[in-house]
């Protein structure tokens, strides 16, 4: 399992960890029932505080991606498609708002943006 | 506590071995002097043994007893400097045990000095072809008992942390006693001189010695009886004082 955190990105570390684990679950690298490393081991390997990894795992559990059992550890939860879709939607929205920010910065109009979108989306379908 | 004792003995081992060597050389040399009065180049010399033998054991005993303690006397100062003293407060050892370990080490050294002093007396007696002198042995024991005064160095160093300071202040504090002793000694010599003049008509070393002897013997007998109590009392006092100093946490 690969987790890469950036100290210089604006995003808090616990959030980076939970997003990355979510991503790994969503793209199938982590399957239902797989064991996650313990919070302490992860903290030691990434050289961060246990509180941070704990928070990441708590978020993942709250969002329904993992289950934690005291004494045993944390395991990937079986996914249902609704949750998956919701998560993907969330991610898409977040990315779109980034796109809009950039567009505004280089003074791209909404129509020009829509054109660009159609090109790229349509282009992707043709692949 | 065993660990603390081992530590201090380990630290002084080099100095102690050197002192031991020096002591053995000293004893050997004096013995050779005795032997040479009948087997060497002092043959025929009158009075060498008479003059030296009564004193030889005394010097040897002093060297043995003081020398054995010599390596140990700057340990407390070094402990403060190296922060070992600080560190020992973080260990699961009570102040009583810390103090007890220091006294134990000193005690071991004192015992070693005692044994060496006895050995010297035996060697000298053999070398001088004299019987082992029990008064000498008694004197050695008495001197050892009084050496316990030296144990005061432990609480003093715990208090002052620095040898020079401790020495200076002790000297100042004890000066009245020392002065009194000198004055008394002077008066006593005067008294003996008068008595010698009265009893024997002339004042020489021999007459002085004759006057002096009964007093000396009596004193020795008294000392022999009170010495163990004196030593024990002092040790308890110093121990209690040391524990108090350790508890004060001078930081």
């Amino acid at each position: 399992m690969d987790i890469i955190i950036s100290n210089s990105s604006g995003e808090p570390i616990y959030s980076q960890i939970s997003s990355q684990i979510k991503g790994l679950i969503l793209n199938g690298t982590l399957k239902a029932g797989d064991a996650l490393p313990s919070m302490r081991t992860l903290a030691q390997q990434l050289r961060i505080s246990v509180i941070t990894t704990k928070r990441a795992y708590e978020d993942l559990e709250r969002d329904g991606f993992i289950e934690s059992y005291t004494g045993k550890g944390s395991f990937v939860k079986g996914q249902n498609t609704e949750l998956l879709r919701e998560e993907y939607l969330r991610q898409t929205e977040a990315l779109l708002s980034q796109v809009c920010d950039k567009a505004r910065q280089c003074e791209l109009s909404l129509d020009e943006l829509k054109e660009m979108l159609e090109l790229i989306y349509g282009g992707a379908e043709n692949e | 506590m065993k660990g603390l004792i081992y530590r201090e003995l380990y630290l002084i081992r080099k100095t102690t071995v050197l002192t031991l060597l020096a002591y053995l050389i000293f004893v050997a040399m004096l013995s050779l002097v005795f032997i040479s009065t009948y087997a060497g180049n002092l043959r025929g010399e009158e009075g060498v043994i008479e003059a030296l033998y009564p004193q030889a054991y005394f010097y040897a005993a002093c060297i043995a007893l003081i020398g054995m303690g010599y390596g140990h006397n700057d340990i407390i100062q070094k402990d403060y400097q190296s922060h070992w003293q600080l560190y020992s407060y973080t260990l699961p050892v009570s102040e009583k045990k810390i103090a007890a370990s220091k006294f134990a080490v000193r005690g071991i050294l004192l015992l070693a000095g005692l044994v060496l002093a006895f050995a010297a007396e035996l060697i000298f007696s053999a070398a001088a072809r004299m019987p082992v002198s029990f008064p000498h042995i008694k004197n050695i024991l008495i001197i050892s008992a009084f050496m316990t005064i030296g144990f005061s160095e432990i609480p003093l160093m715990l208090h002052f942390k620095n040898q020079n300071k401790a020495a200076t202040i002790t000297l100042i504090a004890c000066s009245p006693v020392l002065i009194a002793m000198f004055w008394f000694g002077y008066k006593f010599v005067d008294f003996c001189r008068d008595k010698a003049a009265r009893l024997y008509g002339e004042v020489t070393d021999k007459t002085m010695a004759k006057v002096f002897e009964p007093y000396f013997d009596k004193t020795r007998e008294i000392c022999f009886i009170i010495a163990p109590f004196f030593a024990a009392g002092l040790l308890l006092l110093f121990f209690w004082w040391s524990v108090k100093e350790l508890k004060r946490r001078r930081y």
């Binding site: 903290a43 509180i51 | 506590m1 070992w84 560190y87 946490r249």
Partner: protein, 292 residues
């Protein structure tokens, strides 16, 4: 074994010296965590640690170590505590083998195998006198002996100060390894905050004998920020939001203690993330509201 939630509990610790007072210092170190105890030289870190270990007698306050009273059950507690100082407290004339024989008789749970294991791992010679060790070697030796008697609590007073970054890194790895056991706790005092920025679970800042901030490191770092603006804009900032402000020729840098609220209040202002070092610097200068 007694159960306890906090490895260290300090309440209203007070100690008066001439010219310096530890004033009602209070904080807790939860079991299984590592706390960074941060402050300038002379701020009171060493005094607090000395009071914890009963090396100095406190004037007032309550201290519990591993659930035990630090005075009444002093020796019970100390059996499970290891203290590491910035200077090696072992005599220069001793060597590792002698030290092993000494400490074996002092700690019930001393393990010679563990000790020599660490010595080998740190590449420390067994027969060399300590006087010949380098600074890094001396610290590694102290840590080796601290970890060899099954201590549940490691208290370190400026242990990494004076070490080069490579050695510091090695030592931090050892601490992280130590913490893998949930029963182990570390209290680490330092003014090198870069180490603690990463691995500390909680931090306590102390300045001039008083605790300034104490809490989870992540929260503290998230809540604080450095707001940057022009000197004119600075005048519009509510003094209640400011910890302290640093003015230079080109603008103002202000530390705020509630980043979220401030980014709402002064929308559009640049608010940077901070480090523990910044927090220490800005808080220490809070007496002068503006400084250069």
């Amino acid at each position: 074994m007694n159960e306890y939630e906090n490895a260290i509990e300090i309440k209203d610790l007070t100690k008066k010296y001439d010219g310096f007072t530890l004033d009602k210092v209070s904080f807790n170190v939860p079991k299984g965590s590592i706390m960074g105890f941060i402050g300038q030289n002379g701020a009171g870190k060493t005094t607090t640690i000395n009071a914890l270990l009963n090396i100095v007698k406190k004037d007032e306050g309550e201290i519990r170590l591993l659930g035990l009273d630090h005075e009444k059950d002093e020796f019970e507690a100390k059996k499970q505590i290891a203290a590491v100082f910035d200077e090696l407290p072992f005599d220069d004339r001793l060597n590792a083998i002698a030290m092993d024989k000494i400490l074996r008789e002092i700690f019930e749970e001393w393990s010679t195998d563990t000790f020599f294991g660490y010595l080998d791992r740190f590449a420390l010679p067994r027969k060399k006198k300590f006087g010949k060790f380098s600074k890094g070697m001396k610290m590694k030796l102290q840590i080796a002996s601290a970890l060899s008697h099954n201590a549940k609590l490691l208290i370190m007073d400026e242990a990494t100060t004076g070490l080069d970054p490579v050695v510091r890194n090695e030592i931090l790895d050892i601490f992280l390894e130590y913490l893998q056991n949930e029963d182990h706790t570390i209290l680490m005092s330092s003014h090198i905050t870069s180490d603690l920025d990463k691995i500390a679970d909680s931090v306590t800042f102390i300045d001039k004998g008083k605790v300034l901030v104490s809490g989870y490191k992540d929260e503290i770092l998230e809540n604080h920020g450095i707001l940057k603006c022009t000197k004119d804009e600075y005048k519009d900032i509510d003094p209640g939001d400011i910890v302290s402000a640093r003015l230079n020729d080109f603008g103002a840098e202000i530390m705020v203690s509630d980043k979220a609220a401030c980014s709402q209040k002064y929308s559009g202002a640049v608010i940077d993330n901070t480090t523990l070092e910044d927090i220490m610097i800005y808080y220490v200068n809070r007496g002068k509201k503006e400084w250069r």
